[in-house]
Symmetry: C2
Subunit: 339 residues, 2 copies
């Protein structure tokens, strides 16, 4: 059955029964001109949006519709995690070719719902429109956070340490494997890398922990690529940064894929993006306390990967021999603050 056969309202009706839009602070759920909800006294509302477009962000042959739905939600939850907040409500604008199978939309929503359930998010509404050529998913995610404890991009200071959660480059390695399935890597490595790309895990618990610690001076999630994302911190904090290649956490799986395919694993880690790890800065004096808290309360490794510098130093990647590397591809100039 195609979407065109049951129509917009038929599709909405079909999906509405599967979605939990009541409870919590919901005042008005799906089915009115707008949704309405309350927030806890003292909290502020967080709002973010991010898109997944067929052929641009995903290929239907590489991921199930459910996983496409999960990722569309996960990448937005990652933004709320990077603010130290808690995701609450979601709206979704779908663009669909009229010939899309209704079962595809069902599974896409099953993915939205599964990911939302995992992180306590309610779907409160959305919109569907005809988009003839490809599927487009615009997720609009709301959250809550403590005003005084939000993790911003703008608080980093020279001399502070840069930390990263988990591993960098797995997602880029996974994308390579999806487009080059013939690459000779062990099954577990293939599974780990492709999952990292197809259904990334937002570091929500870790973001909340960092916000509660109150020692993080800036934070971001790795979506565009480590160097580019640290560039955002530099731009918003008006600082420079050096990233230490020898310290970048690269998984054995990514190393194996890089060896098998003749790729540079460091390049995937620095520029690949879509890892959705948290990158954040702490004062050196606070590092022991932060490291202890993270070790006690998170199952993830956290690694010091560099240091914030004065702004005139720019954003530099430092090789293990002390030389600057990849300087031409940092894109730092494009992020300069406009006067």
């Amino acid at each position: 059955v195609e979407v065109s056969q049951i129509g917009e309202f038929g599709l909405i009706e079909r999906l509405r029964g599967k979605i939990t839009d009541k409870g919590g602070n919901v005042v008005v759920g799906i089915g009115d001109d707008a949704a309405a909800f309350g927030i806890r006294a003292g909290s502020c509302v967080l709002a973010t949006c991010d898109a997944q477009i067929e052929g641009v962000h995903f290929l239907r042959q590489n991921a199930s519709p459910k996983d496409i739905g999960r990722k569309a939600v996960a990448i937005n939850i990652s933004d709320i995690a990077a603010m130290g907040g808690r995701p609450t409500f979601m709206l979704v604008c779908l663009g669909l070719p009229p010939g899309t199978d209704v079962e595809f939309v069902d599974e896409l929503y099953a993915g939205f719902c599964a990911e939302c359930e995992l992180y306590g998010v309610r779907i409160l509404g959305g919109n569907m429109a005809r988009l003839p050529e490809r599927i487009s998913i615009d997720v609009f995610l709301l959250g809550e956070g403590e005003k005084e404890r939000l993790l911003l991009r703008s608080g980093a200071g020279a001399g502070e340490l840069i930390l990263a959660s988990g591993w960098l480059g797995d997602s880029a390695a996974g994308l390579y494997l999806l487009t080059h399935p013939e690459s000779d890597v062990p099954a577990e490595a293939r599974e780990r890398l492709t999952r990292a790309h197809i259904t990334p895990t937002p570091r929500l618990a870790e973001g909340g922990l960092l916000a509660r610690l109150g020692k993080v001076t800036s934070a971001i999630d790795v979506s565009d690529g480590l160097v580019s994302d640290i560039g955002h911190i530099c731009r918003e904090s008006n600082v420079g940064a050096e990233i230490w290649e020898g310290h970048i956490p690269i998984s054995d799986a990514a190393q194996k894929l890089a060896s098998a395919a003749g790729l540079d694993p460091m390049h995937m880690a620095l520029y690949g993006g879509e890892d959705y790890e948290l990158v954040f800065t702490v004062k050196e004096k606070d590092f022991p306390e932060v490291a202890r808290a993270l070790a006690a309360q998170s199952g993830l490794p956290f690694t010091v990967i560099g240091r914030i510098t004065r702004p005139e130093k720019g954003l530099r990647v430092i090789r293990e021999d002390g030389e600057e590397s990849h300087a031409g591809s940092t894109g730092w100039d494009h992020f300069k603050k406009t006067p």
Copy 2:
């Protein structure tokens, strides 16, 4: 200059300087992982989204980029108006072909900003992605409202009167004129009708007034078409309705276009949609008070256009001779509540 030449970040940088994202309750504006804002104590947050897609909702030859931007915002403000709320913050997801002129995007944003300024909305963020074939604009609009005074679709009761603001059918007439410019109508009529279609006016002040009056039992804005939208009220309130053709407010301009083009003006008013007028219900005993307040505080005409009935009567359009008309095209069956 094309979008592809300055890139995503170049474009964001270019637009950011033109947008006011500070002040009011804004805690974090554009440039972080998510925006953050506070709300007034006792208020609840409203959230809605609606799309405008090139070739589906608009044609570039029919409207300036600025007007396309204005309408994308206005139709969302209309949803907040239909809830009796006040719009506050907006995020926008743009899909753009890489060959789009940067000047087009500038003008689109100028339209966003102009409409936002008119209604007190701040743009707090968004997202841009490559969409090869056409421009897509997904607006996410947030607002505030008093929990106890929201205008819902779900409160209508049998016997109540149905009222509409303004005029119905102007937008459909305007769309016809845009696609049939040779139609012989006076210049003022052409101007009025095409403006109604290209830059509709959300009835925000009127929605706020109705919410404060506290006498409105249900409300919606006319986007899908009068009959279809009253159908939404019927569905959410579990009632039926009769719409009185002889009472539908149709402008002289729409009458003139219909005569000149050999169209049925009533059909445009009932099924055309995109008028963004408010349609709402009041108990008959409250009608005099509501009518007086509207006459005193709004420059718009308000017209009684029908009556809510028991659900088993369904949704019916009644001609001046008392017969049912257009019964086959109400689409009422498709809106039946699922068991």
